[in-house]
């Protein structure tokens, strides 16, 4: 056979062609840039709040800000205590979690353990649509539907009240809790369920003693995300809870949360240089710190959960 070998140069260049290197670099730095923008915006937001609240803390001590119950930024003498606002936020958040967590977890158990695949393929999208309803709609629902119902049962309840806002906010975050919990329950390995069934466990025993305990840290993470969502929720409380801080916090009466306070300041008629804007930034920074720490906590819980079966 005739040899027709192409003779390759003895020292070939294995370097990538220039245009390929340029293209790869362009792709790489474009994507990096997009990622950096997200981080930059988050950083900028944080900086805005902290820088904006600095003038506030030059005049008001942190002790008064967090410890006093008197929030009266436009009366004389001014009061900048947020304790009542924090308490109102906590009460409404608590009510919403009392609604959302048990119902959400039970709904998740139903979807993942009892529901037929056909019903599940119908219910899950419905649940997710529920999570996509604008919060202003929920707020209106609280004000015009739930509050009248509550007033029929308990006539002493005010037109604006924390209870109605809390309950409706619970329904708003229920899909979040249910969806996250369902993912966690679904992620419990089938081998664990089989182990329990093979030992003669009933379905109820498998769920209560094996699946739920194994999913507990994931459900805890869902709980914390729901908590941080409830604390940051604005529209429902602004519409249905009122704009009067209650002390001691009484959910049958008008309440004012931290978020409503920001709305109140931002929509109020204040001079651009008024000190009250600094107060707005201080409350914003407080909310930022609280929700950020909750999200970080949730991140670590989820991470721990992931390692459990590996």
């Amino acid at each position: 056979m005739q040899a027709t070998l192409t003779v390759l140069p003895r020292t070939p260049s294995l370097a990538a062609p220039r245009h390929r290197r340029l293209f790869e670099a362009a792709v790489r730095y474009t994507l990096l840039g997009c990622g950096l923008i997200a981080v930059l915006v988050a950083g900028l937001t944080a900086w805005t709040f902290f820088a904006g609240s600095l003038p506030f803390f030059e005049k008001v001590s942190l002790g008064e800000f967090l410890g006093s119950i008197r929030w009266a930024p436009i009366t004389v003498p001014e009061g900048y205590g947020t304790l009542a606002l924090i308490a109102d936020t906590a009460v409404i958040t608590g009510i919403s979690l009392l609604v959302a967590v048990p119902l959400g977890v039970l709904a998740a158990v139903f979807l993942s353990e009892y529901c037929s695949p056909r019903l599940r393929s119908f219910l899950k999208p419905v649940l997710e649509i529920l999570g996509g309803i604008p919060t202003v709609v929920y707020g209106f629902f609280a004000l015009r539907t739930v509050t009248p119902w509550l007033q029929e049962m308990f006539p002493s309840i005010g037109f604006w009240n924390g209870l109605s806002a809390g309950i409706v906010m619970g329904f708003m975050i229920l899909p979040l809790v249910a969806s996250l919990s369902e993912d966690v329950l679904y992620a419990v390995p089938r081998s664990l369920r089989e182990a329990a069934y093979a030992l003669g466990a009933t379905r109820g025993e498998v769920i209560l003693r094996v699946v739920l305990p194994a999913a507990m840290s994931g459900i805890g993470a869902a709980f914390i995300l729901a908590l941080s969502r409830a604390i940051g929720e604005t529209m429902i409380v602004a519409l249905a809870a009122g704009r009067t801080p209650a002390w001691p916090p009484d959910p049958t009466q008008p309440m004012m949360t931290l978020t409503t306070t920001i709305v109140n300041i931002a929509t109020g008629d204040h001079e651009a240089t008024a000190f009250i804007w600094a107060a707005l930034f201080a409350i914003g920074a407080l909310l930022f710190v609280v929700t950020l720490s909750l999200n970080i906590a949730s991140h670590f819980i989820v991470k721990r959960f992931r390692e459990l079966y590996e």
Binding site: S191, E194, A195, L199, A201, R209, A214, L308, Y309
Partner: protein, 273 residues
């Protein structure tokens, strides 16, 4: 449970000329003309044979031959899939476990199971063993039962000082022996093992094989395995499944030395697998 009914004699044995073995040992589980469908797909065809008491019965065959499906029919684990239909019967001590009034939970409390991959609960070693006791309402002598089960599973000496530690800290082989102990702690009569060594190293496999030999003194063992040497080492009886059908059943020695079925012979001599 009612008293054991007299063991039915298997027509299959008679046909294959293994009458001697079938009569020598009473039957615990009798499969009769058993067929099974996953939806519209038929996975088992008219399976008929008897599992003899206090013996190890191995089930071999190529992947997808239905051996695991049949094993999981013995304690009604297939029920959990929700789309399974069966015909024929599987009798445990004379009671058809597929009869309407039979509760699968009661069946599984008498017929334990060990799975392919060790699946301890992410709890302490003690809690893994306490779980079956608790769900069976056993509150007396819990510690003693746990120790006995761990001893029978040849795990006691390795874990007795760390019963409160997580079961997930154990090695794979230890986890599988823990799962065996967990299946034994409520004293079932039959132990089903679905390829119990396929996820283990050779050392752990050898330990579990030794253990299976001891278990047969007290329990009836049915083991599905893809490893023919393992079937030859641990079992007294072997069933060969092929594409959903039982091709041959008989004493292990005979199946491995003079199989009567051509397919069995081809399979055990490694011509396919």
């Amino acid at each position: 449970m009612s008293l054991p009914a007299p063991a039915p004699t298997s027509p299959y044995h008679a046909e294959e000329g293994h009458v001697g073995t079938a009569i020598a040992t009473p039957t615990v589980l009798a499969t009769r003309d058993f067929s099974l469908w996953y939806g519209s797909h038929q996975a088992l065809f008219d399976i008929t044979f008897d599992v003899p008491e206090h013996q190890v019965t191995a089930v071999i065959g190529p992947s997808g031959c239905g051996k695991s499906t049949w094993l999981r029919s013995l304690n009604r684990m297939n029920d959990l899939l929700g789309i399974v239909r069966t015909e024929g019967s599987i009798s445990y001590r004379g009671t058809d476990i597929y009869e309407r009034h039979v509760d699968a939970v009661e069946v599984r409390r008498r017929i334990g199971m060990v799975f392919q991959k060790p699946n301890p609960f992410p709890k302490s070693i003690r809690d893994n063993l306490a779980f079956p006791l608790r769900i069976n309402g056993i509150r007396v002598g819990v510690e003693q039962r746990i120790e006995t089960a761990l001893r029978r599973a040849a795990l006691w000496d390795e874990v007795k000082d760390r019963l409160a530690r997580s079961a997930l800290e154990l090695s794979g082989g230890q986890q599988q022996r823990l799962c065996i102990a967990r299946a034994l702690v409520t004293e079932p009569e039959v132990l089903l093992m679905d390829e119990p060594c396929s996820a283990l190293d050779p050392g752990s496999t050898a330990r579990i094989e030794d253990l299976i030999q001891e278990l047969r003194q007290r329990y009836t063992v049915v083991i599905v395995t893809h490893n023919m040497q393992q079937a030859a080492r641990v079992s007294q009886h072997t069933a060969f499944f092929y594409v959903g059908r039982l091709e041959e059943f008989g004493p292990t020695r005979e199946i491995f030395t003079k199989p009567t079925n051509k397919r069995t012979e081809d399979y055990i001599t490694g011509r396919f697998g």
